[in-house]
C-alpha cells in the first residue's frame, strides 16, 4: 500500500477536472474493489477522487419506458427498485446473485461496471501477470485457471491473458443493451455497453475503452417489453463469483422466437454477447433442440484451457435451461 491523497470535488465536472490533472489518480466509488486492490499493492493511485456522493444516486424514468440509473446508485438499491424488478428482472436478479448484502450496500453502479478481474495472479504482486505488469507473462495460462475464460482470450504473445470479467450486473446490462453515459475532459459521450468492455487483444492492461479521467455518470436502460432472467452457476450457494452465468430475455409468439437477448458471464474478458446464437434463434421454434443447437453454434468457437473445459457444457446447459424457463413464463 502506498500513500495517496484523498480529494472531494463540488460536482462531476470538478471531479473530472481533478483527475485530468492527476495522471496517476483514480475515481473512488464504494471502494469495495479499489481499496482491496490498493491494500494488495495491485492498484497504486496517488490521488483518489471520491465520486460516490457526487454521481447521482437516483433512478429516473426515461420517456420510452426505460430507466436512467445514476452511477452512484448502490447495488442494493438498484436491485430493490420496484421498476427494475418489474421491467428488468434480469438486472435485479444479477445484482442479488453477486457479492453479499454488505458489499451491495456499499458498491456503486459505476464501480461495479469497472471492477477488475479476480484472477489470483493479477491480485498477487509477486506473480507474473500481463494485465498488472505488462510483459511479465500470464501466470494463469498454465497455472490455476479453473475459473478463467473459454472465449476470446489472447493465448500467446506479450498480450496473453485468459482472465474473465467478474461482474454479474454488467452481464445483465449487456443483455438489455444498456448505454453508459460518460463525462470526460472533452465533454460527454454515450458508450453502448457492448463497446465499454474489451477483449485482452494485445493489451490486457486495459479492461475497457474508457480513457483516463472519464467518469461514468449514468447508465441508460432502453425499455424491455418481454420476460428476462439471470441464472448464475457457482461453487457455493452465495458469495461466490460466477463459474458461468447467463442473462437472457425472450419473446415467443405461437412457439416461435420473435426476439431474444443472450449474454454470458464468466466466460471471457468481457461480458459476452451471444450473437451467433441470437441470430440462429430468431424466427425459429422455441424448443430445447433449437436452443441447444444455437448454444452450440456459439460455443463451438470456445478455446477452453486445460482445467476449464467444463465451462463449455455448463454454458450450453445454462443457456438452454434459462431459455426454456423463459418459454415457461411466456405461456
Amino acid at each position: 500500500m502506498r500513500e495517496f491523497r484523498y480529494e472531494q470535488a463540488p460536482d462531476a465536472a470538478g471531479a473530472v477536472a481533478l483527475l485530468a490533472g492527476a495522471p496517476g489518480g483514480a475515481f473512488l466509488g464504494g471502494g469495495t474493489n479499489l481499496v482491496d486492490l490498493m491494500k494488495l499493492g495491485v492498484a497504486t493511485p496517488d490521488v483518489l477522487v471520491d465520486v460516490r456522493e457526487l454521481t447521482s444516486r437516483e433512478i429516473t424514468d426515461l420517456p420510452d419506458g426505460g430507466l436512467r440509473i445514476g452511477a452512484g446508485v448502490p447495488n442494493a438499491d438498484l436491485a430493490a427498485d420496484r421498476r427494475v424488478r418489474e421491467r428488468f428482472p434480469v438486472l435485479s436478479q444479477a445484482l442479488l446473485a453477486g457479492a453479499s448484502g454488505q458489499l451491495r450496500n456499499r458498491a456503486t453502479t459505476g464501480g461495479n461496471l469497472l471492477q477488475r478481474t479476480r484472477c489470483g495472479y493479477f491480485t498477487d504482486v509477486t506473480k507474473p501477470c500481463n494485465k498488472r505488469a505488462p510483459g511479465s507473462g500470464c501466470g494463469a495460462l498454465e497455472g490455476v485457471h479453473r475459473n478463467h475464460a473459454i472465449l476470446g482470450q489472447t493465448l500467446e504473445g506479450p498480450g496473453t491473458c485468459v482472465a474473465t470479467h467478474p461482474s454479474d450486473m454488467a452481464v445483465a446490462m449487456l443483455a438489455v443493451d444498456a448505454v453508459v453515459r460518460v463525462l470526460g475532459p472533452d465533454g460527454e459521450r454515450a458508450v453502448p455497453i457492448a463497446e465499454l468492455h474489451r477483449l485482452p487483444g494485445d493489451d490486457p492492461s486495459r479492461d475497457t475503452t474508457l480513457r483516463h479521467g472519464e467518469l461514468i455518470t449514468a447508465i441508460d436502460l432502453p425499455a424491455l417489453a418481454f420476460p428476462s432472467r439471470y441464472r448464475k452457476a457457482r461453487e457455493r450457494a452465495s458469495f461466490a463469483f460466477a463459474l458461468v452465468s447467463v442473462a437472457a430475455a425472450l419473446r415467443v409468439e405461437d412457439g416461435v422466437v420473435r426476439d431474444v437477448r443472450l449474454a454470458l458471464g464468466g466466460v471471457a474478458h468481457k461480458p459476452w454477447r451471444v450473437q451467433a446464437a441470437e441470430q440462429a434463434l430468431v424466427g425459429g421454434p422455441a424448443t430445447e433442440e433449437a436452443f441447444a443447437a444455437a448454444a452450440r453454434a456459439e460455443l463451438d468457437a470456445a478455446t477452453p484451457l486445460r482445467d476449464n473445459r467444463f465451462k463449455v457444457p455448463l454454458a450450453r446447459n445454462l443457456v438452454v435451461r434459462t431459455l426454456l424457463d423463459l418459454v415457461e413464463v411466456s405461456r
Binding site: M1, E3, K127, G143, A233, R236, A237, N308, N317, R321
Partner: protein, 702 residues
C-alpha cells in the same frame, strides 16, 4: 452448604456472550498495554527453496514512521533447538514460500505495510517441489504419526484375504490441502519489562507458547507470561507456537516498546499451518453376507522440508469395523511447503472420508443397505488393541439417526429420484474421535462468604469452555453458577494442556472435579463443614490419562445421514438437510455442545463441497490465498441440521463421563455428503471437494 440442582447438562447461555456481543471482551489485538503500540509487518519469501542473496532494507528504514527493519543480519539471536519454522530470521535459507525474510516495525500498521514493499530482496532459488503423488520415489515411513500412533499396523494376511473375498472394493480417495481460517487472524502483542516478557496472544493454550518463548529467548518459564482470555477460533492453527509469537517478542525487545503483529488473511495461508493433502488407497474384502474379512488403508501425504508432521489419517480404520486381516500405513513426502499442522480432527477427518466412502462402495457392490453393512461389522472389542470398549454406541447412533432422518424404504439404487431439475439422494457415514485426558493442574479457593475462585490455564477458543467449566465447578462445589469466578487463558494460572484433541473438558473438567472434592473434604475434615473467615485454597489436578485408558478403548462415535441435491444442468450441490446422532458421553452444556456438533458438521460439508487450497506447481504458491478464493461454506450452503445425542455417560472415561465433542462432528461428514452425491447422481467423486467441474468430468463432458 446447600445442595442445588445439577447445572451440568443444562443449555446455559455463554457467560462471555454479552461481553463478546458488545465488543468489550478484549481479544489479543484489543488489549491495552498502557503505552503506544508499534506495529509489525513481514516481508515474505516469494520462492519455495533457496537462499536470500540480497536484502536491502535501506529504503524502508528511511521512511518516516519506520522504527526498525529486522533481518537475519540484525535480528536478535534465538537459542538453538527451536522446532519447525520458529527460528525466524536466524538464517538466509528459505524452505517455503511465505517464509518471513524480514520484518518492519513502524508507528502504524499502514506505515509498516507500506515499508514492506520498500525492502529489496533477491533470491537464488531452486525449482519448487510441491506436488504430492503416490508414485514418488522419495516417500518414506515416519517413525510414528501424530499423537503418538504407530505408523503402520499389520494384522493377519490382508492380500490373501482380499484374494479370497467374495466381494472387494479397491479405490483411491484424495483430499486437498486445506487451510484453517478462524475469524480472528493470529495476533501477538509483546511487551518487555526488563527481562520479563508479557504477551497477549491468540492461541489454544498459553503454556505451550510460554515454553517456546522461554526456550527461544533463554528465559525461565516464570519470566514469560502469555495472556489469552478470548480467542476468535483456532481449529488447530493456534495450538502450537508459530512465527508470529517469536517475531512480536523479538521486535518488542529491539524497539523497547510494545509491538503487535496481526496476520493478514493472506498470511493465514503460509505462516500458521495447513492440513496436508492425502492420497488414500482403501481395499475392503467381504464375504457374500457383507462380513469384512480384510481392511487395508494406505495413506500418502506430505510434510515440510523443515519439520515432520505426519497426520494420523488411517488411525480410525484401526477401530471402526471388525475384520481378521488388517493393514494401515502412512507414507510421507517432504515437500517445499510450509509446515503442515493439526486442523480439526487431524487424522479422522481425511481418514474417515476414505474409509466411510469405501464402506458405501462396498454396500453398493453387495446390494446391501449401508447402515446394515456397518451394523454387521460392529466389533465386540477394539479390533487391533484387543481390549474392551469403555463404551461404544455406534449402532444406536445409526439406528436412531435412521429413524429421525426417515431412512426406511430408501431405494438402494442411485439416480432414482428427481425433483424438478434436482437429482436427489441420501447417504450415511459413521463418525468417531478418540477420548483422551491430559495432565491439568487447578487451584480452587473459597472466601468466607462462599465465593469460589477457580483457576486453571484452560482456553476458550470460542467453544464455550468459559461456561462449561463454570458449570462443572458449580456442581462439583455444590453451589450455584453465580458463586463461581473462573480464571482461564493465562499462563500464570495452574498449568494445563491446551484446547486440542477434544481433551479440554475431559482434562480441565476432571481437574476441577477432583480439586473441588479435595476442597470439600478439607472443609469437612478441618473446618467441620464451615467456611473459615479468611477462606481456604486447594491445589489439585489430574496427571494425564485415567486408570482405564490402558485397559479400555475409548472413543466417541456418531452417525450422519444426509440429503444431497445436485442440479443436473450445472452440477451445483446443495445439502438441504442432515441428521447427526452422537455418542459423546456426558454433555456438559446442551447449547454450546450443539454448536460444536453443528460447527463440526458444517465444516465437514465445507470440506466435501468447497475447501481446497490450490497450489501452482511451477510457482509453488497457494493461488487462492484469501476468503474470496478459498471457499468455505456460507450460511446458504447449510440446510436444516437435526442434531441429537444419546444420553450415555462413559463411566470409565473420566471424572465426568464425557468423551470430548469438539472434533467428532467433522469426522465422516464429508463421506456422508459424497455418498449421498453418489446416490443422487450415480457418480462417485473420490477427490474432494465435489465442485461443479467434477460433475462434467465424471459425465465425460469435460
Amino acid at each position: 452448604m446447600t445442595t442445588i440442582d445439577r447445572v451440568v447438562g443444562a443449555g446455559v447461555d455463554r457467560i462471555d456472550g454479552p461481553a463478546k456481543v458488545r465488543g468489550t471482551a478484549p481479544y489479543a489485538y484489543e488489549q491495552d498495554p498502557g503505552e503506544p503500540i508499534a506495529h509489525l509487518a513481514v516481508v515474505q519469501s516469494t520462492v519455495n527453496r533457496g537462499r536470500v542473496t540480497r536484502l536491502d532494507p535501506a529504503r524502508a528504514e528511511a521512511m518516516t514512521g519506520v522504527l526498525t527493519v529486522l533481518t537475519p543480519d540484525n535480528a536478535p539471536r534465538l537459542a538453538e533447538g527451536l522446532a519447525s519454522d520458529l527460528p525466524v530470521l536466524q538464517s538466509l535459507d528459505v524452505a517455503y514460500q511465505g517464509q518471513v525474510v524480514a520484518a518492519v516495525v513502524a508507528e502504524t500498521s499502514e506505515i509498516a505495510r507500506a515499508a514492506v514493499g520498500a525492502v529489496l530482496v533477491e533470491y537464488a532459488a531452486e525449482e519448487p517441489d510441491v506436488v504430492l503423488s503416490a508414485d514418488r520415489q522419495d516417500l518414506y515411513a515416519p517413525e510414528q504419526v501424530n499423537a503418538g500412533f504407530a505408523t503402520d499396523s499389520i494384522i493377519g494376511d490382508v492380500d490373501q484375504a482380499l484374494g479370497a473375498a467374495a466381494v472387494t472394493v479397491d479405490a483411491t480417495y484424495e483430499t486437498p490441502t486445506q487451510h484453517n481460517n478462524p475469524i480472528e487472524m493470529h495476533t501477538s502483542m509483546a511487551r518487555w519489562d526488563g527481562d520479563s516478557l508479557t504477551m497477549w496472544d491468540a492461541n489454544q493454550g498459553p503454556h505451550t507458547i510460554v515454553n517456546d518463548l522461554a526456550k527461544g529467548f533463554g528465559l525461565d518459564r516464570g519470566q514469560v507470561r502469555v495472556i489469552s482470555p478470548y480467542v476468535g477460533g483456532a481449529f488447530g492453527s493456534k495450538a502450537f507456537t508459530h512465527p508470529n509469537q517469536m517475531l512480536a517478542a523479538m521486535a518488542a525487545r529491539v524497539v523497547a516498546r510494545t509491538v503487535v503483529f496481526e496476520l493478514s488473511r493472506q498470511q493465514m495461508f503460509s505462516l500458521v499451518g495447513h492440513r496436508t493433502p492425502t492420497i488414500q488407497r482403501v481395499r475392503l474384502g467381504a464375504d457374500a453376507d457383507g462380513r469384512l474379512t480384510a481392511i487395508s488403508h494406505e495413506v500418502v501425504e506430505h510434510t515440510a522440508r523443515i519439520m515432520e508432521f505426519a497426520e494420523q489419517t488411517a488411525t480410525p480404520t484401526r477401530l471402526m469395523y471388525a475384520a481378521e486381516n488388517r493393514r494401515t500405513t502412512h507414507r510421507l513426502a517432504r515437500l517445499d511447503v510450509p509446515p503442515p499442522t493439526i486442523m480439526r480432527a487431524p487424522g479422522e477427518t481425511p481418514g474417515m472420508f476414505a474409509l466411510e466412502s469405501a464402506m458405501d462402495e462396498l454396500a453398493a457392490a453387495l446390494g446391501m443397505d449401508p447402515i446394515e453393512l456397518r451394523i454387521r461389522n460392529e466389533p465386540a472389542q477394539d479390533p487391533e488393541r484387543h481390549v474392551p470398549w469403555s463404551s461404544r454406541h455406534l449402532v444406536e447412533c445409526l439406528r436412531t439417526g435412521a429413524e429421525r432422518f426417515g431412512w426406511a424404504g430408501r431405494d438402494l439404487r442411485p439416480r432414482k429420484r428427481t425433483e424438478g431439475r434436482w437429482l436427489v439422494g441420501t447417504g450415511v457415514a459413521s463418525a468417531t474421535y478418540p477420548t483422551r485426558r491430559r495432565r491439568a493442574q487447578c487451584r480452587i479457593s473459597v472466601d468466607g462468604r462462599g465465593r469460589y475462585t477457580v483457576e486453571i490455564d484452560g482456553s476458550d477458543i470460542g467453544t464455550g469452555a468459559w461456561t462449561a467449566l463454570s458449570q462443572i465447578a458449580a456442581d462439583a462445589l455444590a453451589t450455584d453458577l453465580g458463586s463461581i469466578e473462573l480464571h482461564i487463558g493465562d499462563s500464570r494460572l495452574p498449568r494445563a494442556g491446551g484446547a486440542g484433541g477434544s481433551t479440554g473438558l475431559a482434562s480441565w473438567g476432571s481437574a476441577i472435579v477432583l480439586t473441588a472434592r479435595d476442597l470439600r473434604r478439607r472443609l469437612d475434615d478441618e473446618y467441620g463443614g464451615q467456611l473459615p473467615a479468611d477462606g481456604v485454597s486447594v491445589d489439585g489436578g489430574v496427571e494425564g490419562e485415567g486408570p482405564h485408558a490402558k485397559t479400555h478403548s475409548m472413543h466417541a462415535f456418531g452417525a450422519h445421514l444426509v440429503e444431497v441435491r445436485v442440479d443436473q444442468d450445472t452440477g451445483e450441490v446443495r445439502v438441504p438437510r442432515a441428521t447427526s446422532v452422537y455418542d459423546g458421553g456426558t454433555i456438559v452444556n446442551a447449547k454450546t455442545a450443539r454448536s460444536q456438533f453443528l460447527g463440526g458438521f458444517s465444516m465437514g460439508v465445507s470440506m466435501a463441497l468447497h475447501e481446497e487450497s490450490l497450489i501452482d506447481p511451477r510457482l509453488g504458491h497457494y493461488v487462492n490465498h484469501d476468503l474470496a478464493g478459498y471457499h468455505v461454506a456460507t450460511n446458504a450452503d447449510i440446510g436444516e441440521l437435526d442434531i441429537s445425542w444419546l444420553d450415555e455417560p462413559d463411566e470409565l472415561a473420566n471424572e465426568l463421563g464425557l468423551k470430548g465433542i469438539g472434533e467428532i462432528g467433522i469426522t465422516g461428514a464429508a463421506a456422508a455428503v459424497a455418498n449421498a452425491y453418489w446416490h443422487a447422481t450415480g457418480l462417485r467423486v473420490r477427490d474432494l471437494p465435489i465442485t461443479p467441474d467434477k460433475y462434467f468430468r465424471e459425465l465425460d463432458l469435460a
